[in-house]
Subunit: 702 residues, 2 copies
């Protein structure tokens, strides 16, 4: 992130006063001809300067032999010459004082070793001169409000993207044009489009950061195949969140197969996809899994007010559709709270035959008392119990005439509640759709798609608030001395020093020492044989549990050591370990993982072999605030259910686990340069307190 340069250089990608096309062709269908043709065709009002060594005129415009020959200032250059000439062209641009050059030429790092070297030479020019570049292997940019179109993508041939408030920034040009066409076909307008290609210099994050300030942009759609600058992405997302602009993010390669294909395609190894997911959420953004999901969500924000939260009411002409929508809400982030008793009584007063609460089934009978519908809508929204209302209006929208009364009802409520989201589900006639959307009402044909889109949009309110909350309330941990071998005992001691709940354990050489240690620890205690040669303690009778007094400890010492000597005659017996009884609790894994792009991350999940096999873990970026730790262990689906009360068993001590997460985060901060990983598996979380039963610290290899 080069914040001081951002404004001018990135602005020049979209809104230059003048643009040079280096490698311009007289043939408007050729690669070098298209940017000139598009710029003319779109009606770009700034200066267009073709640059072509061999021609004095290109497509009716004066052409220059060299970018340095151009008389006026040049904000942007589009470079479409063969890869071996790009370096020279870029040097010319730098000398001319061009702010940003879009290198559309391919044959760089994406191609081969020679290309990688060529790309590195471009970056040397960037570093030397301060010029900025997109690409190489970029697809250029389009800015409908500026009637600017600098690309050779045929997707822009004939189809002018309408100006609007949705921005699309992608690494891949094909991904971008697929996205923008789906957005345009959905009836949405676009503010800025750019495809950043190899991202040698300008990366997606920097563009997002610019768009956060861009008055033309309300919603940001982004798609990447890889990310190199984790902190840059974090900062850009937070900036957009602070500006109140939703970022809808796609990163491909989430699946095992997709990751393999992405590695083939980009040459980059996929990091842990869950870490990426976490960083997106922490930034207050939404990770979309398909282009359609991205477009649906962009639609919600582009057309209506941003939802203030995830609470929605369903009003349905059909009970079955209402139930299906409730099914679709599961896991979507949408909440469908039942009406309060008071609200329910008022709704029932208005329409006595309405069934259920949320979904509210007004039944097909409502046809005879249609005029009650706007009263119900108003009552639901005025209650303050909902952030959004979804209206299933059957097939009424197919005919503008038949829909006329509904249109009246919906617009009436729209005017009364400008800050609430209103979504209508009906197969809408284009006129109906236009009238609703112009008033800021969402229109969907498929009920489940509205539910999922609103679930995502409603979740974003909370995610943004969390992203902008207290950045960190981290404490400090002592720096660990890693000069000694990191045995389990040593690892536990270091974690105990950092405040983690490691139970006191004592190594005792004789029965009296064991009894004294047990007195100190408090009863009941457990006892394990202490021997460097015995791996499976149970098999030699080497474990005694639940010892209730000193006498039992002394007896057990003799029994255990005798048994071990008899059953493992060759083993060295050093005595026993005395420890408090672990007791009953949930076995949780708590660890520190060092991501190559995003740095240290805390992870927590179901402990034991299940955890590893099912991969059910949550991540959070270090430093982890107390609030973030609480969100990690909050009730929900997945592993955190292990902490819930269950069949009369009390709930586990979430606060103790939250505390442990915070202390591990402090440990990670204090030892960022020397620790690569920590794994406590399990940490036993009891109904009161927690205990680290096993621990491993992996030092950073020098």
């Amino acid at each position: 992130m080069k914040d001081d340069l951002t404004g001018s250089a990135i602005a020049a990608i979209f809104s230059p006063r003048s643009v040079a096309v280096i490698g311009a062709s007289s043939n408007p269908t050729k690669l070098g001809g298209r940017p000139v043709a598009f710029l003319k065709d779109y009606g770009f009002k700034g200066e267009i300067y073709p640059v072509n060594a061999g021609q004095a005129e290109v497509q009716g415009l004066v052409s220059y032999k060299d970018v340095r020959d151009i008389p006026g200032p040049v904000d942007q250059a589009v470079i479409v010459v063969p890869s071996q000439h790009v370096e020279e062209a870029l040097r010319g641009c730098a000398e001319k004082g061009v702010k940003v050059a879009q290198v559309l030429s391919s044959g760089f790092a994406e191609a081969d070793e020679a290309g990688r070297a060529r790309q590195e030479r471009l970056m040397e020019i960037v570093r030397e001169t301060g010029i900025r570049i997109t690409g190489p292997n970029a697809l250029g940019s389009v800015s409908p409000p500026d009637r600017f179109c600098a690309t050779f993508s045929t997707a822009f041939q004939g189809m002018h993207p309408p100006a609007g408030n949705v921005a699309v920034v992608t690494q891949s040009g094909a991904f971008g044009s697929c996205t923008y066409v789906m957005i345009a076909r959905r009836g949405l307008g676009l503010s800025r489009i750019v495809a950043t290609g190899n991202e040698a210099d300008v990366a997606t994050a920097e563009v997002i950061s610019y768009l956060a300030d861009d008055p033309e942009t309300r919603v940001i759609c982004a798609a990447v195949e890889s990310c190199r600058d984790g902190d840059g992405l974090r900062a850009a997302l937070r900036k957009a969140a602070a500006a109140g602009k939703p970022v809808i993010f796609m990163k491909v390669g989430a699946s095992e197969l997709g990751a393999k294909a992405a590695a083939t395609h980009t040459g980059a190894l996929a990091g842990n996809d869950k870490v990426f997911d976490t960083v997106i959420r922490e930034g207050g953004a939404w990770r979309a899994r398909s282009i359609e999901e991205m477009v649906d969500l962009a639609y919600v924000f582009a057309v209506g007010p941003a939802p203030q939260g995830p609470r929605a009411a369903i009003v349905s002409l059909s009970g079955g559709i209402g139930v299906m929508m409730a099914d679709s809400a599961e896991g979507s982030g949408l909440e469908l709270p039942p009406q309060s008793d008071d609200l329910r009584a008022r709704v029932h007063d208005i329409l006595d035959f309405a069934e259920g609460s949320n979904p509210l089934d007004v039944t097909a009978q409502v046809a005879v008392r249609q005029q009650t519908l706007p009263v119900i809508y108003d009552t639901l929204l005025a209650s303050g119990e909902y952030d959004a209302i979804m209206l299933y209006l059957a097939n009424s929208g197919m005919s503008p005439t038949a829909f006329a009364p509904h249109l009246g009802y919906v617009l009436e409520v729209r005017a009364k509640h400008p800050d609430k989201v209103i979504g209508v589900i009906t197969p809408a006639h284009p006129e109906v759709q236009k009238a609703l959307e112009e008033a800021g009402v969402l229109v969907f044909e498929d009920p489940s798609r509205l539910v999922r889109a609103l679930g995502a949009a409603g979740s974003l309110a909370g995610l943004r608030a969390a992203a902008l909350g207290v950045a960190s309330d981290a404490g400090t941990a002592p720096r660990a001395d890693l000069s000694q071998p990191l045995t389990e005992a040593r690892a536990k001691r270091l974690l105990a020093d950092a405040g983690l709940p490691v139970p006191a354990e004592a190594e005792c050489g004789d029965a009296e020492a064991a009894a004294r240690a047990a007195d100190g620890i408090g009863y009941p205690v457990a006892m394990k044989i202490l021997s460097p040669d015995i791996a499976h303690k149970t098999e030699v009778g080497g474990i005694a549990l639940d010892l209730k007094d000193a006498e039992a400890v002394r007896t057990a010492f003799t029994r255990i050591t005798d048994s071990a000597r008899r059953l493992a005659p060759d083993a060295r017996i050093d005595g026993v370990i005395v420890a408090p009884m672990a007791g009953e609790g949930a076995e949780i894994i708590l660890g520190l993982h060092n991501d190559p792009v995003f740095g240290p991350m805390i992870l927590a999940g179901a402990g034991g072999v299940m955890a590893e096999m099912l991969g059910d873990v949550s991540f959070a970026s270090v430093p982890v605030s107390r609030e973030a730790a609480e969100r990690m262990v909050a009730p929900g689906d997945g592993w955190t259910r292990l902490l819930d009360a269950w069949r009369g068993r009390p709930a586990r001590d979430r606060a103790a686990l939250v505390e442990a997460i915070c202390r591990l985060s402090d440990f990670a901060v204090a030892n960022a340069d020397q620790v690569d990983g920590v794994e406590m598996n399990p940490i036993l979380v009891r109904s009161e307190g927690a205990a680290v039963l096993d621990a491993l610290i992996v030092p950073r290899s020098a």
Copy 2:
């Protein structure tokens, strides 16, 4: 299911020669007027007989005072009189010899107790006279090939559903009309539409059974809110599978919230949704989760050939889109096998710069060598390695002119491989879409939606084959004597008699008996204190593990009983239990669950508390064939991972678990009338063999 009557009565729902409308009105916008108006408007060629006691003519047709007055035969009657007059009307229909009456009137079981009684009286007439009814509270039927439209749904006003090969059978009329409108807007034609309402008599299953034989129908879309006749549904699904017709099934109320809403709406308690899921899959059908998913899948079968399997090849003009499609394939049922080495070499010979294997990224560069594309398509399909091919053609489809060469390539390959599925992804111009679909090529705008639809369609091939496989290779189990109390020991004995792997355990009163028992069991053995008064055996030193010979057994007997007497002085000590060492293995839950609608089901999943909390279990209907048992434990996501090899640990003995499932199935068959449930939790599945460590049998309450 009344198979002998199915043909004529259900046929009369869609293709009657004559129809009476009882309660016909002269006003074509009223409930009673609409069916007459629609029938006339749609051009129904059969006889239309309005029945209205007060009028001699209705909408230009001769009207009758009573259905019995009609001169000719009447195949179908549509009843739209108020609920209190339906009984009388139905009796008239029965006397007239009407085959089926569609009772559209509401005010029956869906309303209140009096309505329930009214519905029961209708069923008495059905049982007495043999007349069949749909509804009450039905929405009628539409059959475009017959130009027949007997409904009062305004959805059919003005919009005539085009004739085609997709049938829609739903309980809820609103659900049905939402579905059929989405199907029609997708450009598909419809064969039959019916909404069965309360299903007092004719239920969804019976209609599916009819549609399986219906030559007009190729794809069956069904949606229910409840199901009462589990075996009827099973038989209908199997019949459709045998006819090679895909059934796409929705049942709402899958989520917790949805189930609650459904209970409010239908008054029926939701059964276990996973059981429903299982029955649908076992019937070779697909459970859709949204109407859009249902429509997408219907589209695949309505437009192109049915996929022969789930193996698909992706050819993409964009690497990023290919990777995203691979992501979307995860969990969709679609398989994306890499090209064989030989195939890969051939593809590379054709296009040397193509990257990857599957997805195959032909890159935007292919534009200069477009004519290689059909060669690649042909090579991929001719290899026999794929059942389907998906072509991401960027935005080329927006212009018929630009798409012309692609259209040629695709149609060429379509002609060469008529049995393969070909899907094109592009935002298609209507002309482009029409040309492709008419040739049997699928067209999608969103890449992920094609992937998911083909995943479902491709899975159906395997599901159908499984559904039609060997019905059962069940063995026999002895009938259990349940006259004695069903203690754990007794339950284990009964299950052992049925062939389940219950380890031999011996109750021994003295050390010598214990040693003899251990000799018989084989070493090593475990020993547990035997006392009705001691619940926590560990706490009294009451357990000894891994005893390797008779001497160790004798010593342990003394140690254990001494320890227990000392630490639990008031407990009655009966001796010890000697058992083989359980060893290391996966703890699995294996059980029998009796579903109120679908009968006995075997369940298997992760054992212990995780299983219950995470609900990660698989079901299968009893009797379970060996093949079905193998599918239950087959490698995949979820709990069966516990059976996989993992980090050098050997795989668990799946065959032993399969055997146990089959034996439990036999036990369930032999004891169907007297056993309500069985739970073995856990059955320990080792690298060789399995052992039931705990067992519970719940007898059927009389």
